[in-house]
């Protein structure tokens, strides 16, 4: 069976999630590989969520938020624009290709942009292949939990 990437998408409620909805309503075709998790703001996305997604088997993670200046909470995405590059460095240090983590600004009216980004990332992850981490093996035997 061909490899189908598992991508987790954290989408902010006000812009990106609405943009995704627009893509759907507009019947714009996009790969089904992104599992969407809605947060109120991209600034709500704790780096721990992203690491956890990789730990639990995600091949890629994408965070989408409002364009700078458009954040519903004024400054949330300013934190995101620093967090994601920082986290890319961290995961690279762990031996995970930083291209598996992506940040994109997608507004409520950018349904086609949403689809484009999803398709592009799905292809990229397909080319990178499945992500196997040492911790995946450990999780099978994991008795105590955090």
């Amino acid at each position: 069976m061909a490899f189908e990437p598992k991508i987790i998408g954290f989408l902010c409620n006000w812009c990106s999630y609405t943009g995704a909805d627009l893509a759907g309503v507009s019947r714009i075709k996009s790969a089904p590989n992104v599992r969407v998790i809605r947060t109120m703001c991209s600034g709500r996305v704790d780096p721990a969520f992203i690491l956890k997604a990789f730990q639990l088997g995600a091949d890629g993670v994408i965070v989408m938020g409002c364009h700078l200046g458009d954040c519903h909470y004024q400054e949330g995405n300013y934190k995101t624009i620093r967090r994601i590059p920082f986290l890319k460095r961290l995961i690279q240090g762990f031996g995970i290709d930083p291209r598996r983590l992506r940040l994109e600004w997608v507004s409520a009216s950018e349904g086609d942009r949403f689809a484009h980004v999803v398709n592009e990332m799905t292809e990229q992850i397909r080319n990178l292949g499945p992500l196997t981490l040492a911790v995946h093996g450990e999780m099978q035997q994991h008795v105590a939990h955090h």
Binding site: A48, K52, L68, R82, R89, L90, G95, V135, E138, A144
Partner: protein, 321 residues
């Protein structure tokens, strides 16, 4: 009436936790008076055979320090879990892998190659003499434990009842825990972190904090710092925001940044993720280029943010490439 039985053991440890217990000074006599110490390799001559001969659950309290680095560490951990009623993960290594957990940034192969072959003082024949678990000498067979690929914390291999953090746990905190146990009061719910606070190290730190907008980071040797102002405000990476309180903020009081030895604060499972978040919130830039050049000044984020907790972090180890 027989005194309750106490055991202390060190796995892949440095001995600092044992010293911390002794640093309760004259109160150690109270401990010796209240408990029957049945196993403590640093101080008493009980051997592993003695522990194996004990009845299950006959040891009332076991303080287990050190991380799980090899097969012997794991074997004794399982053994003591069987023999002890209450087992406490004691000190940073047992809780989250500690400094030995930094070995999860490298591999057993790379460690062995350096130690037994490539280090400049090592004389090696035939490309290296590496340790064998079993050796047949002319007189007979001898063995040594197998070193594992990955360092683990104690609760990654056995069920742990309580946690006492710190590298080492501070003596006044240790005494507080022992005193509570000796009081006979009911123990808190299983899994509770004892001997520490419920906030972050920043809460104990006496330095003045201002609003943080950082455009530059410095390494501790690069500048002289103001002893009254928050180190992070001055551009020194300090783990205070991602570290549990309880130590008394000893390091920042000594004019050096916190490095996270009391482990993550409550409800934080990954010190690295927390520091990425915290530092990102205070970096004052939004142009991608400027952000990257500021991030370049934060050297070795993995080894700094996970200095004590790599083995217990979400990803646990660096991938073998």
């Amino acid at each position: 009436m027989a005194k309750p039985k106490l055991a202390l053991y060190w796995a892949a440890s440095c001995g600092g936790c044992e010293i911390a217990v002794l640093d309760i000074h004259e109160k150690i006599l109270d401990v010796a008076g209240a408990f029957d110490i049945v196993f403590w390799p640093v101080a008493l001559d009980f051997k592993y055979a003695d522990v194996r001969a004990m009845q299950d659950k006959s040891v009332d309290l076991c303080l287990f320090n050190g991380s799980i680095r090899n097969s012997e560490n794991a074997e004794i951990a399982h053994l003591l879990r069987a023999k002890a009623k209450t087992l406490v993960a004691f000190g940073s290594c047992a809780l989250e892998g500690g400094i030995p957990g930094l070995a999860n940034m490298t591999t057993k192969d790379d460690i062995w190659k350096w130690v037994y072959k490539d280090s400049p003082s090592t004389v090696s024949n035939n490309g290296g003499t590496f340790p064998q678990t079993h050796s047949t000498m002319s007189e007979g067979a001898i063995e040594i434990p197998e070193m594992w690929e990955t360092v683990k914390s104690l609760d990654q291999i056995i069920d742990v009842d309580y946690y006492v953090p710190g590298c080492p746990p501070q003596p006044d905190q240790i005494w507080g825990v022992i005193e509570y146990i000796l009081s006979g009061k009911p123990l808190p719910p299983k899994g509770t972190v004892l001997g520490a606070g419920e906030k972050t190290c920043c809460d104990e730190c006496p330095r003045e904090r201002a609003e943080k907008k950082l455009k530059k980071f410095y390494r501790p040797f690069e500048i002289e710092t103001d002893p009254n102002k928050c180190l992070l405000d001055q551009g020194i990476v300090c783990m205070g925001p991602a570290t549990r309180d309880g130590c008394g903020a000893l390091c920042t009081k000594a004019n050096v940044p916190c490095r996270g030895c009391y482990g993550p604060p409550p409800n934080v499972i990954d010190q690295g993720a927390k520091m990425v978040s915290a530092l990102s919130s205070i970096i004052d830039a939004h142009e991608p280029e400027e952000i990257e050049s500021i991030l370049d000044q934060i050297v070795d984020p993995l080894g700094t943010f996970y200095r004590f907790s790599l083995a217990h972090s979400i990803l646990r180890r660096v991938e073998k490439l």
